[in-house]
Amino acid sequence: MVLANAIMLLSSCGNNGCEETRESYFNATLTATGRISLTKLYAWALTADGDSLMTSSSSPTSLELMLRPDTTQTRIRLQCTIDDSGDEYQYDDTLTIGYQPYPYFLDMECGCSMFYDITEVSVTDHLFKGITINNSEITNEETVNITLTY
């Protein structure tokens, strides 16, 4: 019995619980081109049921978003407050991300993560001036996918 328990214990080494990162994020770097600075940012997911706040931050330099896994497009309303030489202004822009989602099997304990191949990205130009795709693959590893300049 002791031998049987020892055998079961040895055979299960390293197999207890999930040690992987399951969630995958779309990462954007926010870069200022002039004297203005972004003081506040709210990111709202636009759905058929209405807008839903996904994340908010003060003086952000980056943005982390979760893409909807059961469709091929996610639209985010970016509600931005900027500081321009002491004066505050508010802008609303819409970021549209098109992608192909696919499940990625991690292991039996973790199940799967969701990875994405970005097919297109666009943003309205009330505040933002440009967009660059740095990495079109979204995985469970941290990487910068796009750079947004304002």
Binding site: R22, Y104, L106, E109
Partner: protein, 252 residues
């Protein structure tokens, strides 16, 4: 009209290899130029009576270059199946004894997995082959009575496997749960190394038992776009880097 092929078919080639192997084993068993393990042991037994602990000056090895060979089977996976494991690898190994010091090995086998997790994720890997090659090194190679040996082992393994995974769910903090999803037709080529220790004990004239314990880092796990292998034939569960074996050796 289809012309007969000039190159041998895989089946024919396999048959030729098998014939070549059988012929060689027969030759060895008939006591041709290469002695059988039994002949070596008989000679050794004769010598043991008069053998001294120290070797004559200038003699490096007590035992012959070709000191016999054996086939062995790892009984650990079938035993684990009896304890309810839903995967297994079944293997046979040919081992050659050189000077009772070096034991080069070649292993061939098959492995399968039909597992279900606590969250009902199902992983199905068909019976697929694997190969290993390596060597055991015996520390007690020059001892007069060296029937029980122990030492270190180094092996390299390669396996090909195919897997389907089903009943997958993905949950994130914002969008909630997505699923169930399936991934079919993942094909993995995995390479690993085994580094460890072994003990081999003689039970009777032609029968020995052996245990080994090894650390098995992947050199190439073989992950593909859709995921990582959970089970690798000949390796076991990919998240566990510790392996053990219980082998029964038959001397040829």
């Amino acid at each position: 009209m289809r012309k007969p092929s000039t190159s041998p078919s895989p089946i024919r080639l396999a048959a030729l290899v098998a014939m070549f192997f059988t012929a060689n084993v027969s030759l060895l068993a008939q006591g041709s130029s290469i002695p059988t393990t039994s002949a070596v042991k008989e000679k050794r037994a004769e010598g043991d009576a008069t053998a001294s602990a120290t070797l004559p000056e200038g003699q490096k090895y007590r035992y012959a270059t070709f000191n016999g060979m054996s086939v062995s089977f790892n009984l650990f996976p079938p035993v684990m199946n009896l304890f309810g494991k839903d995967y297994g690898s079944y293997e046979g190994t040919l081992t050659i004894d050189l000077h009772r010091r070096f034991f080069p090995q070649a292993t061939a086998g098959v492995g399968y997995c039909n597992a279900e997790s606590d969250d009902f994720v199902r992983y199905h890997s068909k019976m697929r082959p694997f190969l290993k090659a390596g060597m055991l090194y015996n520390f007690k190679y020059n001892e007069p009575a060296a029937d029980d040996i122990w030492g270190v082992l180094l092996r390299f393994g390669y396996a090909y496997s195919e897997a389907n995974v089903s009943n997958l769910y993905y949950t994130d903090a914002f969008w909630g749960e997505t699923g169930p999803m399936s991934i079919d037709g993942m094909k993995f080529h995995s390479v690993w190394m085994e580094l460890g220790g072994f003990i081999k004990v003689q039970i009777s004239k032609h029968l020995s038992a052996g245990w080994d314990l090894s650390w098995k880092p992947f050199l190439h796990r073989g992950s593909v776009r859709q995921g990582k292998p959970y089970f690798v034939p000949g390796y076991g569960v990919a998240t566990s880097q510790i392996g053990m074996g219980f082998h029964v050796y038959f001397d040829l």
